[in-house]
Symmetry: C2
Subunit: 334 residues, 2 copies
DNA sequence: CTGAAAGCGCTAACAG
DNA sequence: CTGTTAGCGCTTTCAG
């Protein structure tokens, strides 16, 4: 039942090496023997054992993709788009993808540096890593190829692909300003992600630049979580002076905020305008359709994947730092 | 830099075998040596080479998940939910997931039987396989463990997990009937999936059972594709006698149909009621919110994953045929 | 253009 | 409780 390279070699009266050369297409083999060997391979339905090949060649042609293990992670539209981009490029280059959802638990603190050591992957892509993740420093000290998506830190040993988050937040605030808003609140994301920090910075810098009122009660923290944003939005509404617009650091929080406003009998955008960030799929389906800053999420995945392959194949040396442009999407909510 | 089991063994003055026993936790080792070895492992930051382990043990602890390679497959809510279920169970059992998006191209006709032969996976889950896929028969003849999700064929060599599609369609038609509808059209899915066939059967059987009018012009084929359904819906509207309700074999087609009705100035559900099947995420967000038959999609994934592990570990023998219940979700569209 | 030898790093099987 | 032997199936390296 199980056919090995030796079986093929015996049948063809050649050495294993010749068969191996035919299989890989590399190295010189006479057309005639190659043809004969191929015929036998087809006839016997032989497929090389990838594990043996990997052990010997020290390459697995597998890319590990580390994603945060959240409830139903694949339903997260953001992660789904990143994965699409990563996978498309990897497949085009004959690499396979292994998904590694990792829970951010302390007892697993070195989980993916260990994965790197296990030799299962030729490289890794880390999606939505935490700012203080100890794995990242450990990886950076190794020579294992890896790329961070949605993480920004200008370090000589780190490779990342991210969106221009600061600029995106700036764009949002200026749009609200141009629409006449002067009192703008902000729902921040998880402060342990560089993303969230950048968007906060964009907000703060821009209201300062425009000379708008800074009110610390207008800044709440929603952890990139719809329910949390739903709760925290109330704090903004409780302020003695109510803002006329709320900018949220991502779309899911914007949806939570809109739900709260609706519950309080406030109309969006007439009473309060709401903006999100990301442009996830349902942004255009909800009512009112969400005005937001679109990140090129699928492109982030593609770029990360291509960059990793370049690192693996030595076509590129770290550090690799890429920032992609974002875009204002005007809809109904602001 | 690269530490192997031999390095650990040398440092601890034991044989590789003893280290291997400590690593696996199986086989007798004196507590004292075990402790000493563990200390050295920690100190040296040793991680076993998984590839070498797999080659030797003939198990990879990896499950291959075959999904149809469509544009942005991870954005397909259905696939995402299946993957969530599969992954959750696999991780709990220390298995990893490798995603294999496969294009249904003729030149790749034996792609996953070849994957099975490559020894990379201990088992495979095939999601949304086509009825006539030649791989399935080939796999069935091998002793490689695999489970089909969303495929139903009572064969002694096949293992599948599916929803009760016939019953679901029946449920939908009876609900429409109870709501007063007598003229019910049907938008079928891809006839090369068992799913689509079952839902068609449920529709046909039930209109017959209820004594409703059968009109072949009221049955169109939408290929589980929103745009196609949008087009095909027109054929139904062109009929001399227009139905009062349209049952669609999945939600995405229902959305396409609703768009067409809106474009034609017809109100849903007042002029024509529309029902879907699946209950994908956006079903509750669109206007009007979609009345549909909910498949336990996440559960399908979990069940498939658990079943496959049972097959791999010999706790279960083929054939394994499981059907999960569906449920009517009443919303606004019907 | 082809082959022989050596070994990737681990575990199964058996022996002590 | 511990060790020895013998591979797993392939590719690398070097030799012809």
């Amino acid at each position: 039942m199980k056919t090995t390279i030796s079986d093929i070699a015996n049948r063809a009266n050649v050495s294993k090496m010749t068969v191996s050369r035919v299989l890989s297409g590399k190295g010189p083999v006479s057309p005639k023997t190659a043809e004969r060997i191929n015929a036998i391979i087809d006839e016997m339905g032989y497929q090389p054992n990838l594990i043996a090949r990997s052990l010997s060649s020290k390459r697995t042609m597998i890319i590990g993709v580390i994603i945060p293990k959240i409830q139903h992670m694949f339903l997260d539209n953001y992660i789904a788009q990143i994965l699409s981009g990563i996978t498309d490029i990897a497949l085009q280059n004959n690499y396979r993808i292994m998904l590694c959802p990792i829970e951010p638990r302390p007892d697993r603190s070195m989980e993916y540096i260990n994965l790197a050591k296990s030799k299962l992957f030729d490289g890794m892509i880390l999606v939505k890593a935490k700012l203080d993740d100890p794995n990242i420093n450990a990886l950076a000290e190794s020579d294992f190829p890896f790329v961070l998506v949605n993480y920004k830190k200008f370090s000589k040993k780190l490779n990342f692909v991210d969106s221009r988050n600061v600029e995106g937040a700036t764009m949002a605030i200026k749009y609200l300003y141009d629409s006449g808003h002067r009192d703008i609140a902000f729902v921040a994301g998880s402060i342990d992600e560089t993303n969230a920090k950048d968007r906060l910075k964009g907000y703060l810098d821009t209201i300062k630049e425009l000379g708008l009122e800074y009110n610390e009660n207008w800044i709440v923290y929603g952890d990139f979580n719809k329910e949390k944003a739903f709760q925290e939005a109330q704090k903004i509404l409780n302020c003695s002076k109510r803002p006329t617009a709320i900018f949220c650091a991502d779309d899911s929080m914007a949806i939570g905020v809109i739900e709260r406003l609706r519950q309080e009998g406030l109309r969006v955008p007439n009473d309060i305008a709401v903006m999100g960030f990301d442009d996830i799929e349902i942004a255009e389906y909800i009512k009112p359709a969400l005005t937001t800053i679109r990140q090129p999420i699928y492109e982030l995945g593609k770029t990360a994947s291509q960059s990793l392959l370049n690192l693996i194949n030595g076509k590129q040396k770290p550090p690799l730092h890429k920032l992609l442009d974002v875009k204002l999407i005007k809809r109904e909510s602001a």
